[in-house]
Amino acid sequence: MWQVDPTLDLLSKAVDVAAFRQAVHAANVANADVPGYQPLEVRFAPETSESTVAGFSSAQRLEEAAEQIPELAASAQGHVHLDEEMAQMAQNALRYQLLLGAFERTVGLLRYAAREGKEG
């Protein structure tokens, strides 16, 4: 894929992950009353924790971070805790909106550069 900017790649990946998390929270809340339902959660593979995604320092690490794939895993909890699901969902929704804002701003900067600094 032709790459405009590694930041955009990483941001769109992070937006995907946030959307995925929203889907998992929705499934947990919807199935909360099903007997024997094992709650799900989103996890990153052991060697690639989310902290490495946040702690990038160079363009290359940025690309590495964008390649990490989150996985579904069984939550340690035996049943769904509605309050925790709702709290985490609210937090995740904020992160999703924040990421989309960052995405828009990055696109804005690129647009500014492409117009050689002219406004409008």
Partner: protein, 144 residues
């Protein structure tokens, strides 16, 4: 599964709570129904089930997997013992003067109602949040 599919999951959750509400209402309304074709009313119970659990297939974020959705498998009669009440004047009384009242657990049903209400609210809230995320996503690039 995109965010649009998430709305379906929440809708399935709402549907399940609706079915539980129907059954709880029927049980409470019929708590003293003694006569019908097959004797006293038998309390009902909703049997729930989740569609395919994705952990079996090792799904990834873009794997096109489907998340588990709750489904109503059936509505069964509970095996609750009817309670016998002495009321010789009752048209459904047996020869000893006892009436068989359905063994509806009214207190349990009221507690169920509370849990149904919370479950419905939670699903509705998730639906709302998902919708706002979709709206935000669709507004990208529309403001500059």
């Amino acid at each position: 599964m995109g965010l649009f599919g998430v709305l379906d999951v929440s809708a399935a959750g709402l549907k399940v709570q609706q079915a539980r509400l129907d059954v709880a209402a029927s049980n409470l309304a019929n708590a003293r129904t003694t006569g019908s074709s097959g004797g006293a009313y038998r309390p009902l119970e909703v049997v729930l089930h989740s569609s395919t659990h994705p952990l079996a297939s090792g799904a990834a974020v873009n794997g096109g997997m489907t998340l588990p959705r709750p489904e109503v498998v059936g509505i069964m009669e509970k095996s609750a013992e009817p309670s016998l009440v002495y009321d010789p004047g009752h048209p459904d009384a047996n020869k000893d003067g006892f009436v068989r009242l359905p063994g509806v657990d009214t207190v349990g049903s009221m507690v169920d109602l509370e849990s149904i209400s919370r479950g419905y609210e939670a699903n509705l809230r998730v639906f709302d949040v998902t919708r706002s995320l979709i709206e935000r996503l669709l507004s990208i690039g529309g403001r500059s």
